[in-house]
């Protein structure tokens, strides 16, 4: 029975990875399409390859945070960890599906963190854990990073674009500067894909790592195959569905020239990669929104709609409790009936 559950869990993890590829990766790559620095085919190839590399080789720290940074899985019964991880994956997957259908700009990161927290709280309510055992300080750090990352994106993008404007636009002809940045944007597109893979793979395979990573004697190690598995799911998501999303979002953001796209992408990727190194699960898309606003504030893009901030805050407030409640529900069902 537990084996069947694990198979089910693997499938849901793959689905979440696929959805991340189809939507989040696509959103991050759409800037390159919006500015027409790359064509759709090039973007798909870059995104698929570099998302995979980022996930497989740089995703470890964030996966660790999702797997054992919120719920102390070392002190739980391994069977409960299986139930909890699968509950978290299913609820994150379910909420992501609903939100995607409703076009809500939610974050898969917030969903999985909320879902893991739900698992922890359910374990507390059944007396398997004490409330203090949940790593609240870690959780607080994560939530703080959700606030800081879009701001960091905005500040970085503001400075990068301002520097380009002040140093390059004044010295050289505008068309020449843009032409050079067309090529530089190929580099930032890779950078964004790599950074995104490194941070967001955890949203799909973090709970899997909680199941498979635990070794005898409480020793913990994340299997590389799991990272590669998540990377593959993301790459597949981009290739099978992401191209539609890239096209759709790219058409909304045609006002991005190469220098603007470069600034927004560079700021986003740097912020996200730093977070990955620190093991902080953040939302790439929210960071990208912050970066675009930063370029807008530097006078780079006309008509940046900061009304979208409200929507994002609303989706935050919605995502955490919903993912948590789903997770508590599914976990309880699993514990009672399986």
């Amino acid at each position: 029975m537990i084996d069947l559950l694990i198979v089910f869990g693997i499938l849901s993890a793959f689905y979440v990875a696929w959805n991340i590829g189809a939507n989040d990766a696509a959103n991050s790559m759409a800037t390159s399409y919006g500015s027409r620095a790359l064509n759709l085919r090039q973007i798909i190839i870059i995104a698929a390859v570099l998302e995979f590399l980022g996930a497989a080789f740089f995703g470890k720290n964030v996966v660790k945070t999702i797997a054992k940074g919120i719920v102390p899985i070392e002190i739980l019964d391994p069977n409960l960890v299986v139930y909890g991880s699968i509950a978290a994956l299913l609820s994150a997957g379910l909420w992501i599906t609903i939100a995607t259908y409703l076009h809500l700009p939610i974050s898969t990161t917030h969903s999985i963190v909320g879902a893991m927290l739900g698992f922890g709280i359910a374990a507390v309510s059944q007396g398997h854990l004490s409330l203090n055992a949940i790593k609240w300080d870690e959780l607080f750090k994560i939530m703080l990073s959700w606030l800081i990352s879009p701001i960091s994106g905005a500040i970085l993008a503001f400075f990068i674009f301002s520097i380009i404007r002040i140093t390059l636009f004044r010295k050289f002809r505008h068309e020449e500067v843009e032409r050079v940045f067309r090529y530089l944007q190929v580099f930032t597109a890779c950078y964004v894909a790599f950074a995104h893979g490194s941070n967001d793979v955890a949203n799909a395979v973090g709970p899997m790592a909680a199941i498979f990573g635990l070794r005898e004697g409480g020793y913990y190690e994340i299997p590389r195959e799991i990272l590669a598995f998540g990377g593959l799911g993301i790459a597949l998501g981009i290739a099978t569905w992401g191209y539609r999303v890239i096209k759709l979002v790219g058409e909304q953001i045609t006002r991005l020239t190469f220098t603007r796209g470069f600034s927004a992408e560079f700021a986003t990727a740097t912020t996200v990669l730093t977070a990955s190194a620190l093991g902080l699960p953040i939302s790439t898309t929210h960071t990208l929104v912050g970066s675009v606003i930063g370029v807008g504030l530097a006078g780079g893009i006309t008509g940046v709609n900061i009304g979208v901030i409200q929507k994002i805050i609303f989706s935050w407030i919605l995502t955490l409790p919903i993912a948590m409640l789903f997770s508590i529900g599914i976990y309880t069902i699993l514990v009672v009936f399986v």
Binding site: N27, L104, F169, G299, G300, N305, I306, G307, V308
Partner: protein, 226 residues
């Protein structure tokens, strides 16, 4: 396609393409006005009325564009220029086509006897006005490059020169107007009602040039005051 999440919403409304379209309508209205005067000269009053309706149609299209901008440019939109400056500029630009509409109406009030000397001078005024509005359109069209270069100083310099050009064209319109007024006030042989009508034309044609110059000035304030 229903299954997607998007951050595209952060890219809100940009008023500038619509602003350029609005300026193009102003230019077209002056062009029709020119044809309307020619039809008047030939005594083809049916055509004069047709042109009046065409200008009315352009004016109402321009009003729609103006409303579009005014409803979309909210405070939650980050623009590279001041929102208030933009709205003031739009209001000034809208006056150009409003004045065209007025003149278009005035041509249908009365079938005046046309004096060749006066008509020739009127045509000169209209040609000058057309040039002024053409320059004006070129100025507004620059907004795209201004934004792309993040208001590069050289680009601003180019636009400022255009604005000066518009202002000097408006000044020349004034000169022609003065000449026309002198002519008209000394046409004892003409019917006073005809003279009165033509004076109102001249005055209002002057308003068109004035409103273009005023809008150009607003444009200058907008791009310098960001």
């Amino acid at each position: 396609m229903k299954f997607f999440r998007s951050v595209g919403q952060v890219f809100g409304y940009s008023p500038f393409p619509t602003l350029v379209k609005h300026a193009v309508l102003c230019g077209r209205a002056v062009g029709i006005l020119q044809k309307q005067f020619e039809a008047y000269e030939r005594g083809n009053f049916e055509l004069v009325e047709k042109f009046r309706d065409e200008i009315d149609e352009l004016e109402s299209q321009a009003d729609e564009l103006k409303e579009e901008i005014r409803t979309h440019v909210t405070r939650s939109l980050i623009l590279p220029i001041d929102r208030q400056d933009l709205l003031e500029f739009l209001r000034a630009q809208d006056e150009i086509i409003n004045n065209c509409e007025h003149v278009g109406h005035m041509l249908t009030f009365r079938k005046a006897k046309v004096d060749i000397k006066i008509m020739d001078e009127l045509k000169i005024l209209l040609a000058q006005l057309m040039e002024c509005v053409n320059e004006y359109e070129a100025m507004v069209d620059h907004i795209g490059t201004l934004i792309e270069t993040s208001f590069d100083k050289r680009e601003i310099q180019r636009v400022l020169e255009l604005i000066q050009e518009i202002e000097s064209l408006e000044h020349e319109c004034d000169q022609i107007q003065m000449k026309l007024h002198t002519l008209l006030f000394n046409s004892e042989e003409l019917n006073p009602l005809d003279v009165y009508l033509m004076i109102t034309w001249v005055v209002h044609l002057g308003y068109i040039a004035n409103s273009a110059a005023r809008a150009a000035d607003r444009f200058r304030l907008m791009i310098l005051g960001r």
